[in-house]
């Protein structure tokens, strides 16, 4: 199919893109935004790792160091990870996977992107020109009373981006409820859609809490009165409770979509239906629900009541149950599958390993007594990077490669992609595994200088970061190259099931020539048979 009939060919002027309401184009707009912010956050991380090569903090001053890790945290959490899979792959794929022509509120979808770009650009400009030294958590009273940096402007941008999250979540929830094609029952939804549905629930219910908390923070800073600063009669623990009521579920905003991507990829490249499909769907909703009840494990040493700590500790262990169900079910899906190792599969397998390590070390931190030792050390840094980078970013890359042919109509170069996947896996482990050891030995996080005994592990970590950076640059290069020179992709290059593969690559403007009818369950793969899969799902719209 030529490009002129696809969504990419429908209007080529800048204006056509900036006023589009096509969910696929909005996904592309988001992809450009988050890629730019990924490299901004990555540049800050590079400087941090360079500075940490020597114990004395030779490269940057202490103030600059604080500002750098704030840039890294704020940009990576709110402007990259939170929107990464939902706003790009989710936007592109949810309507296609459920057989819809667009999301429920297309114009609201575009508004979400403008809010995101406006808020994020404002905050990034503020972080770079002025700088903020509070870390991404904006803890009070540091953020309200002691910091002399541009905190109010930074939280204002984050506040605006929050509304982008809320509107995206709202849009997805209504889309999944109201726009499923005939025959697409809830238990025929691909797990990616289930995962994004769970994510949307969190986006909608947690983000407002962050938004209002940031308003109170800004008011406290501006008016010199508030409920968070003990000097003003307030309670800093209250801020932490409210902040983590959002920010812990936010971790699941980052990881649930990743689990959705991995379920799709594993099933396709093992040529088997996902093992325990219903249990996987329930596990997603289970994780999303329990995610609202565990925030207090961020505050074990903050002075919250011991009994609250015990309850939060127990509930945090509970998250391991649905998470383990997912890992076991992916493994069982692989069992006796007809496995092949295309790049998306390499990323997905990497995800499982790294997510497992990140998840299991999370249990260390959920243990009250152990956390007293490990809290605020590099062990915590390593733990959440295993989840967010080893988990979410690996899965994001798996998804980008898996659906690249569908999104762009071009194939990416397979061997380069495999090389990048392996480089990222090695670079990641070399960067962050030493940080577990550093944390066990007691190196505190967020420090500009450190004890010389920690230098060897820090140098290893920085060396790994160099490999990791190279691994991240590779896809930027070969994927851009493939846009022009990659071979044209067929409608269904992986012989995958799922409605999105039953329409041309790249898809036409309305996704499907006619609304599809769904007559089969998802993941209708037969091991060893690569040609039949899904062919009967939607016979009208073949390649």
């Amino acid at each position: 199919m030529s490009n002129t009939d696809s969504y990419l060919g429908a209007g080529l002027r800048l204006r056509d893109w900036l006023t589009t309401t096509d969910h696929k184009r909005i996904a592309i707009l988001y992809a450009m935004g988050i890629t730019a912010f990924f490299f901004v956050g990555g540049a800050a991380a590079t400087l941090i790792r360079l500075s940490l090569i020597t114990p004395q903090g030779d490269l940057v001053s202490a103030e600059t160091y604080n500002k750098l890790f704030t840039v890294h945290g704020v940009v990576m959490v709110w402007f990259f990870l939170i929107p990464s899979i939902p706003a790009t792959l989710g936007n592109f794929l949810i309507p296609m996977m459920i057989g819809a022509h667009d999301v429920a509120f297309p114009r609201l979808n575009l508004l979400s992107w403008y809010l995101y770009m406006g808020g994020a650009l404002f905050t990034v400009a503020d972080l770079i020109i002025g700088g903020v030294d509070t870390g991404w958590t904006f803890y009070t009273p540091l953020s309200t009373m002691f910091s002399n940096t541009a905190v109010v402007a930074a939280v204002a941008g984050v506040f605006v981006v929050g509304f982008s999250s809320i509107l995206t979540g709202l849009n997805f929830i209504v889309t999944v409820h109201r726009r499923r094609a005939p025959g697409m029952g809830w238990f025929r939804l691909p797990l990616f859609v289930w995962a994004l549905y769970g994510t949307s629930l969190i986006l909608v219910l947690a983000t407002p809490v962050l938004a209002m908390t940031l308003v109170l923070l800004a008011a406290e800073r501006l008016f010199g009165i508030g409920i968070f600063d003990p000097a003003l009669g307030g309670d800093p623990l209250l801020f932490q409770h409210l902040f983590w009521f959002y920010s812990h579920p936010a971790v699941y905003i980052m990881i649930l979509p990743a689990m959705g991507v991995v379920s799709e990829v594993i099933a396709c490249f093992a040529r088997k239906p996902v093992f325990g499909y219903r249990m996987m769907a329930y596990a997603i909703i289970g994780i999303a629900s329990v995610s609202f009840l565990v925030w207090g494990h961020h505050m074990f040493v903050s002075g919250q009541s011991m009994y609250a700590g015990m309850v939060f500790s127990f509930l945090s262990y509970l998250v391991a149950v649905p998470s383990a169900i997912k890992v076991f079910n992916w493994t069982a899906t692989l069992f006796r599958g007809s496995i092949s190792f295309e790049a998306p599969m390499l990323y997905a397998l990497g995800f499982i390993g790294l997510f497992m390590l990140g998840g299991l070390t999370g249990l260390y931190l959920a243990a009250l007594a152990l956390d007293v030792n490990l809290t605020d050390t590099y062990f915590v840094v390593a733990h959440f990077h295993y989840i967010m980078v080893g988990g979410s970013v690996m899965a994001y890359f798996a998804g980008i490669h898996f659906w690249w042919p569908k999104i762009t109509g071009r194939m990416y170069p397979e061997s380069w992609a495999r090389l990048a996947a392996i480089a990222i896996f090695i670079g990641f482990n070399l960067t962050f595994f030493p940080q577990y050891l550093l944390g066990m030995e007691g190196m505190p996080r967020r420090y500009w200088e450190y004890d010389p005994q920690f230098q060897v592990l820090n140098v290893l970590s920085s060396a790994g970061a160099a490999i990791l950076a190279g691994g991240y640059l590779l896809p930027a290069l070969y994927l851009s190259w493939s846009l022009r020179y990659g071979p044209r992709a067929a409608a269904n290059p992986w012989q995958a099931t799922g409605l999105e593969w039953q329409t041309p690559s790249p898809p036409p403007e309305g996704n499907f020539p006619t609304t599809p009818r769904v007559v089969r369950d998802p993941y209708d793969y037969t091991p060893g048979n690569r040609d039949e899969a899904g062919a009967a799902m939607h016979p009208q719209a073949g390649p």
Partner: protein
Amino acid sequence: MSAASQDAALESAAERPVGELGMWVFLATEVLFFGVLFCGYVVMRWYYPQGFAAASRHTDVVIGSANTAVLLTSSLTMALAVQSLQQGAARRTVWLLAATLLLGAAFLGLKLYEYRDDYLRHLVPWLDFVFPGRHAGGARLFFYMYFVMTGAHALHLTVGLGVVTVMIIGVARGAFSRERAAPVEVAALYWHLIDVVWIFLYPILYLVART
């Protein structure tokens, strides 16, 4: 099933109404949004029970009660407006929506008058706050929460006034009718939420120490 009715079933997926569900989800976010303020209020009141009790005696219970009556009435006219539109009585709907708008504006006017009065009585905590007695610290935080909560509520009400204005124009021009009542129904949901929030604000701000 005939081919024609099958096609109709296929295309209907794109026609299913989305506005109402979208608004319910949005209202859920609003509940969490205000939830932070209620949570902050509860914690501060836990710390400063006497300060909060003393301060709440300085709110204007007459205006607060009048405003409660005004806003509840506006919810009634709004509900009647939706019913009229569903019955096809467009003209009556316009009048009822206009009444809703007027009552909403009256609430806002009374609220602004009350703010002015609070200012004159030195109750604005970030300006020249003066409070007699031993509980000035707690009272200051009470009035901080009072201004943040009623301010957030007034902001929502102001948006609501804009929405109702659009609805009046839409119904008057025939854009919204018995066949296309959804926008007005959705707007009404939002209006009722503003009312519900106030029903919680009124007792915790005006009636704390007056039981």
